[in-house]
Symmetry: C2
Subunit: 161 residues, 2 copies
């Protein structure tokens, strides 16, 4: 599918917010944030970015495609790991500058570290918390779904310091 | 709380991904994306950004604070509308460059247009879809929770074209 055809122009605030035309806004780097949750559990699995082509490919194939900022390339999620994300529902927000992917994950994991979700640690918060040192995170998943050294042999870790 | 004290240094990939220290990564603009879901339903309510101060305020108060890019200011969600987001759980992702807020929303709505969620429209996707014109969105919410002209009188609409 041709992004130039399936994405409409952004003409007015009312058209963007209350209309029926898909008219996404890409930022100065040509990217739109993408939030991916598990269709059944609602769990947040990952947060990534898409460029025009990745969004068009996601729409066309029904499988999540992102744009990898570290590799500066289209990234068909699961192409290396087999952990493909099948779109059950795709949504867009009010001002059309963010998309929401509700997916089924083939193989059950979405995180390159090996956990089901990328969000496997809790941050303490709320009144009464007293801290003058780095806050201590609490793990919410203890078992990895896969071993990243087996699934991504020789692939550089994408995490940047 | 002092962001310089509660956020730790990022020393190694292993420490960031597998450790217990909160060591968030802010981008070149000093921002980290924040994904906000309804604690009970799992519905994605909104996607925003925080700077160091907004994240520290969220942790300290237990209420969502964002950084408004259009206004270039800290934004205590609900300060104008009363639709405060109370943090039930806060999480951070593998490389600590995104946070997940699981919240209860006082008043039941999070979207400035008046809907419960910002993500009130569905994008068609998947094989078999044939399009050479802007794709047609489908509304998933039909009733607004509030009238934005009453809740935000005289406030400029934040949507940018």
């Amino acid at each position: 599918m041709d992004p130039e055809k399936i994405f409409g122009p952004r003409l007015t605030v009312e058209q963007v917010e209350e209309g029926n035309d898909l008219a996404p806004r890409f930022d100065a780097h040509g990217l739109i944030p993408a939030v991916t949750t598990d269709f059944e559990s609602g769990e947040l699995l990952m947060h990534g970015f898409m460029n025009k082509e990745a969004l068009a490919l996601t729409i066309e194939t029904g499988e999540a495609h992102y744009f990898s900022r570290s590799r500066q390339a289209i990234w068909h999620k699961g192409a290396t790991s087999g952990l493909v994300q099948k779109i059950r529902e795709l949504r867009i927000d009010d001002d059309q500058d963010c998309v929401w992917l509700r997916v089924d994950v083939i193989g059950g994991a979405s995180c390159h570290v090996g956990y089901r979700s990328c969000f496997y640690r809790k941050v303490p918060s709320g009144p009464g918390l007293d801290a003058d040192a780095p806050l201590e995170l609490e793990f919410t998943e203890t078992e990895k779904v896969f071993d990243p050294e087996v699934v991504y042999p020789g692939v550089e870790n994408p995490t940047k310091l």
